[in-house]
């Protein structure tokens, strides 16, 4: 009664087919929830259901009863059948007993006859063997005549044991002796065949096989075989060597592959068949020792031969003097390398592909070196050409030749860059994807990085800077070098630094798949750029120096050769000053072609007016100091010292910048400094001093335009005039207006 109260069972309680059906609850629910009509219907349905269930039960009972009846019948029938079988089994047992006794009787009667028969058959086989023995010499002979060696050996081996066993019995001794002589002959025959150089590999193998079967010492055979092979391979090598000079590299490699290498392969293969693989069948302990021995022997043989071959190939590769066609070379090397890779299976201990790759690497290195050589030569040639072009026509058509300067530079850069690019294109053949050795890491590393990038490109750029620097090195100052060449090369280095280095390096890296960030050993672009920059600077400094010294020389000669104490009153500017200005102008136009003034020109003009003004004022005062010059020396010394006190120190030769103004300023500084030194070495009369006054004024009129800072020129010219005043016995200056007139007159 508890269960129906549980809420989850409520439905079960109401389920009419469920186990926990509670008729009272069900009825209650029915009465509560349904109308009378519904209840009536329900009742009818239930009554119908009950009737159906009842009839079903009846049918089931009836069916099961029938089955039970049939089972009882079957059990009864089985009982009778078993009874019959038992009787028949008893009968069978009796019969078996009688059969056993009969068979025992028969076997006891037949015992004797069987023993006799087995004895007879033993005798028969013995006789047969004896007969074979007696016949053996004859058989062997016929076999020999037929050259059916293998059968002969078979036969002999058959009889061998018996002969050994009974060999000391008189009747067999004859046979044994006969056999042995024949066998000896057989062996010599086989050996002949073995040593016959024309014999095919198969024949060779056969004879060796037979000889081995005849217990010939394997080691001896082995070495004999190798000597024989050696002879033939050596011939091949000699042939190769003879041919190496006439044939080109492809033919040579082909010849090597088809001749020497395939022969070697054949030898090795047959050796394996004969000495190493076949021994497996025989006695194992000996076998292993021998196999080792054979393998070692073979290895040394192969290594020896290959080494000679490699030497030949190396020589041939080295012989390829000029650049030739890289494609052909690469093709030949590729074939060579592929063949070697195939060879590798032959010999266990040595990696021929490694030696091969070394040869290939060498070839690559050589190719790079030759290219480098050619590049260097080409560069030297263009330098010489440029030098000639610069020296010869300069005096005749100064303007025309100078117009070409920029073009010359461009063409030089262009040819160098193009040449290098051409070389890169040529070398890239080495690492094409279809080239076998190019896939090897070893080769790629060494070729791309060490040879092409570092050995060729970087080396060439270093060569460029070294050549450039060589022109201005301390020890070999060649006075014949045209200064313009220095200027040109300086610009060349500068231009290289500003892009071409980057271009060439990135081209290289791209073509040869080099990642410059990966390896720290690589020369970086910066390093090269720095050296380029340094060389450019060095060349430019040197150019300024040379030009400065050239003008200096002119000035010095002009001051030294004149007698300043006995000179007349100045009427003109000395010719040398005009020459100086002319030279400066020509240098200016030359430099202008290569170095543009980036924006400094405007700046220059904008504040030049101010500067000119201020300097002219100070100059005026300065002059008045000299014009009122009294023989009390000290004042002027003091004045010039005080003047110096407030002016910046002038570096006569500070580093030149890469601009026209800086270059010209450098040259002018050197020249004017020289002028001053020369003046200090002389003693002047009044007119001598006035000549210097005219000259410096003239220079002042014409030089300021070349420099960035006019002050500098003024200062240096003032110093010159000041020095002249000091060195003058009668320091009286000319009227500035007269000086102006003289200078304007030219």
């Amino acid at each position: 009664m508890d269960q129906p109260k549980m809420s989850d069972k409520t439905s079960n309680v109401l389920d009419i087919n469920g186990q926990n059906f509670d008729p009272n609850l069900y009825l209650e629910k029915l009465f509560k929830e349904n109308t009378l009509r519904q209840i009536m219907d329900q009742e009818n349905e239930i009554v119908k259901d009950t009737q159906t269930l009842h009839s079903d039960m009846q049918t089931l009972v009836y069916e099961n009863y029938n089955k039970f009846i049939t089972a009882t019948d079957t059990v009864r029938k089985m009982k009778t059948d078993f009874k019959k079988m038992e009787d028949e089994m008893d009968l069978l047992a009796q019969n078996m007993e009688s059969i056993t006794s009969f068979s025992q009787q028969i076997s006891s009667t037949l015992q004797e006859t069987r023993e006799q028969i087995s004895k007879l058959s033993g005798v028969h086989s013995l006789l047969k063997r004896l007969q074979f023995l007696f016949k053996l010499p004859a058989t062997l002979k016929t076999r020999m005549e037929e050259a059916n060696y293998s059968q002969a050996v078979q036969d002999y081996l058959h009889a061998q044991k018996v002969l050994q066993h009974y060999g000391n019995m008189p009747s067999f001794q004859g046979i044994k002796a006969d056999c042995e002589t024949i066998l000896q002959e057989l062996k010599t025959q086989l050996r002949n065949q073995f040593n016959n150089p024309d014999a095919s590999a198969k024949q060779l193998a056969e004879s060796v096989d037979l000889l081995l079967q005849l217990d010939e010492p394997a080691k001896e055979l082995c070495s004999e075989f190798l000597t024989c092979a050696e002879k033939r391979l050596s011939e091949q090598l000699v042939m190769l060597r003879d041919q190496s000079e006439q044939r080109d590299i492809t033919e040579f490699v082909d010849l090597g592959c088809s001749g020497f290498l395939s022969d070697l392969c054949l030898v090795v293969a047959s050796f394996h068949d004969m000495f190493i693989n076949r021994m497996n069948t025989d006695n194992i302990e000996n076998n292993e020792i021998f196999e080792n021995f054979a393998a070692v022997e073979l290895n040394t043989f192969i290594v020896n031969k290959m080494q000679k071959y490699f030497e030949l190939v190396q020589n041939k590769v080295d012989l390829e003097q000029d650049i030739g066609d890289t494609t052909i070379l690469v093709k030949a090397l590729d074939r060579f390398y592929r063949r070697l890779q195939a060879m590798n299976t032959l010999c266990r201990d040595t990696d021929f592909a490694k030696t091969g790759i070394e040869i290939v690497i060498n070839a690559g290195r050589k190719q790079c070196k030759t290219h480098l050589q050619v590049l260097k030569m080409h560069f030297a040639d263009s330098l010489t050409k440029m030098r000639q072009a610069l020296t010869t026509p300069k005096l005749i058509t100064q303007d025309d030749s100078s117009v070409n300067l920029n073009e010359m530079l461009m063409s030089l850069i262009l040819t160098v860059v193009e040449k290098v690019k051409g070389v890169l294109q040529d070398l890239v053949v080495f690492i094409q994807p279809d080239v076998n050795f190019a896939q090897r890491e070893l080769f790629r590393d060494s070729f791309c990085v060490d040879n092409v990038r570092e050995g060729l490109i970087v080396c060439f750029m270093h060569h460029l800077t070294a050549t450039a620097r060589g022109l201005c090195s301390n020890n070999v100052s060649d006075p014949k070098i045209p200064p313009v060449l220095l200027l040109l090369l300086s610009k060349f280095c500068l231009d290289f630094q500003n892009g071409h280095v980057h271009y060439l390096l990135s081209q290289t890296d791209e073509l040869f798949n080099i990642n410059p960030k990966e390896s720290s050993a690589l020369t970086t672009e910066n390093e090269i750029n720095t050296t380029m920059q340094e060389s450019a600077q060095e060349l430019l400094n040197y150019y300024v120096r040379i030009q400065g010294l050239n003008i200096s020389q002119m000035l010095r000669k002009s001051v030294e050769t004149r007698d300043w104490l006995h000179t007349i009153e100045p009427r003109t500017v000395r010719a040398v000053m005009k020459r100086v200005v002319e030279d400066m102008a020509s240098i200016d136009s030359t430099v202008a072609q290569l170095y543009e003034d980036q924006g400094t020109a405007t700046e220059h003009s904008s504040d030049s007016s101010r500067k000119t003004h201020s300097i002219s004022v100070s100059r005026h005062q300065y002059r008045s100091n000299w014009s009122s010059y009294t023989p009390t020396h000290l004042d002027s010394t003091l004045v010039s010292n005080i003047h110096k006190l407030f002016s910046e120190r002038i570096e006569i030769f500070s580093t030149v910048e890469f601009s026209k103004v800086s270059i010209l300023t450098g040259i002018i500084k050197i020249s004017l400094k020289t002028f001053m030194e020369c003046v200090r070495l002389k003693t002047f009369s009044k007119y001598g001093l006035q000549q210097i006054q005219v000259d410096t004024h003239y220079l002042q009129l014409y030089l300021w335009r070349f420099v960035a800072d006019e002050n500098l020129v003024h200062f240096l010219l003032d110093e010159i005039l000041g020095s002249a005043v000091h060195r003058c016995l009668e320091p009286v200056l000319m009227e500035p207006s007269v000086v102006d007139i003289i200078c304007e007159r030219g």
Partner: protein, 392 residues
């Protein structure tokens, strides 16, 4: 009235401080002259005191002076004695290597007609120092050069023979006997050649028994044997432009240093004259003077019109670079381990004007003097670190 000396010095000091060269100041002492000067010489015979002689250059010839400057190293002070040299402006001054009292000057005298003539004389420095008034120097020996050239470049005392001296004029080398007041002409060597070549300077070779006299003419170096007057050896085109000065290495008998207008300083082994064994261009203008340190010949002193004095190393060719000599000498292990200086500039002094002379002190190997045209003498020490590096 002229500016007093003290006042002038103070100007110099202002200038000095103004330019901020205090760093170098620790290493050097300045002495200012009131005139321009281009003649400096160490008092060679004096081996105890550090003494230098300066000759001034002023066209007002009575103003010219000779200053004897003595440097007290311990206190870094200077003691100077001034003598008049009223005969003319001094272009070149040399001290006798044997007699401390003898000096030779080459000077320019201007006569009343404003005509110049070069003269040379040997003068005597007085033994006693007289501070009260400035004396004129007594002339010991006069030279009569009139016929042998118009310009006198230098008068060089013989390094060991007190009775000999050599004059270099623009086209002659003249050997004199100077035992008497009137120098006796012993030998004349004329310079021959196309386009009237001139001598620039000359110097005795201290080796080979002092029988050779080296001269510079244009770009070439010519050395004569003074016994015969013949050319002993020469270096043609030693410099690209005019050669200004030379100096023999006292410790290596075949080495000579040269310098010139091309800005190069070169050292030659004159047995092998095709190329110099040392060559540098560290100056930016003409190099006027080159001197080996007499004790440590890897130290090379050069003066240039770029207003700089450079102390450079020429260790690679010095006598102390004894790598090849010492190989068999195991006892000198320490010297093999010694670091050799690399060639190139080691130390420099800045002047305000061109420097025409620089000299080592014969008494103290680490002291040198340099004289710039504006009349400033700088006495400097070799940097201590450098000194130890060379000595240890």
């Amino acid at each position: 009235m002229e500016l007093s000396f003290v006042e002038y010095i103070s100007y110099k000091h202002i200038f000095w401080i103004f330019c901020g060269y205090t760093m170098e100041n620790e290493n050097s002492v300045i002495y200012g002259l009131e005139f321009q000067a281009r003649a400096l010489s160490a008092q060679l015979a004096e081996t105890e005191k550090i003494r230098f002689l300066i000759g001034t250059q002023s066209l007002k010839q009575v103003n010219n002076q000779i200053h004897l400057v003595e440097f007290d190293e311990e206190n870094s002070t200077l003691k100077t004695t001034v003598y008049h040299h009223s005969d003319g402006e001094i272009w070149k001054l040399n001290a006798s290597p044997i007699d401390t009292s003898k000096i030779a000057t080459c000077y320019n005298t201007v006569n009343r007609e404003n005509l110049c003539s070069m003269k040379t004389a040997i003068l005597k420095l007085p033994d006693t120092e007289n501070y009260d008034h400035i004396e004129n120097l007594e002339i010991l020996t006069k030279f009569n050069i009139d016929s042998l050239g118009t310009d006198i470049k230098t008068t060089e005392f013989h390094p060991s023979d007190a009775s000999k001296a050599a004059c270099v004029t623009d086209n002659h080398v003249i050997l004199w006997d100077i035992s008497n007041t009137e120098a006796q002409n012993v030998l004349n060597i004329a310079l021959e050649g196309k386009s009237n070549p001139k001598f620039t300077t000359g110097k005795w070779n201290p080796h080979q028994n002092c029988n050779q006299f080296a001269t510079a003419t244009e770009t070439h170096l010519k050395t004569y044997d003074v016994r015969t007057g013949q050319l002993a050896w020469n270096i043609d085109s030693a410099h690209g432009q005019l050669m200004r000065d030379m100096d023999f290495n006292l410790n290596k008998q075949y080495h000579i240093a040269t310098c010139g207008d091309d800005g190069f300083v070169k050292i030659w082994d004159f047995r092998q004259t095709s190329s110099p064994i040392y060559s540098r261009t560290d100056h930016s203008h003409w190099v006027w003077c080159v001197r080996f340190n007499p004790f440590h010949d890897q130290l090379l002193l050069t003066a240039s019109s770029d207003a700089r004095v450079l102390l450079s190393s020429a260790a690679s060719v010095s006598s102390e670079n004894n790598q090849d000599v010492n190989i068999h000498d195991d006892s000198l292990d320490s010297s093999e381990n010694k670091q050799i200086l690399s060639d190139g500039p080691l130390q420099w002094c800045e002047h305000e004007d061109s420097v025409y002379c620089a000299e080592w002190s014969p008494a103290e190997p680490w002291i040198f003097a340099s004289l710039s045209y504006d009349g400033r003498l700088l006495i400097s020490r070799v940097k201590r670190s450098l000194k130890y590096q060379i000595m240890l």
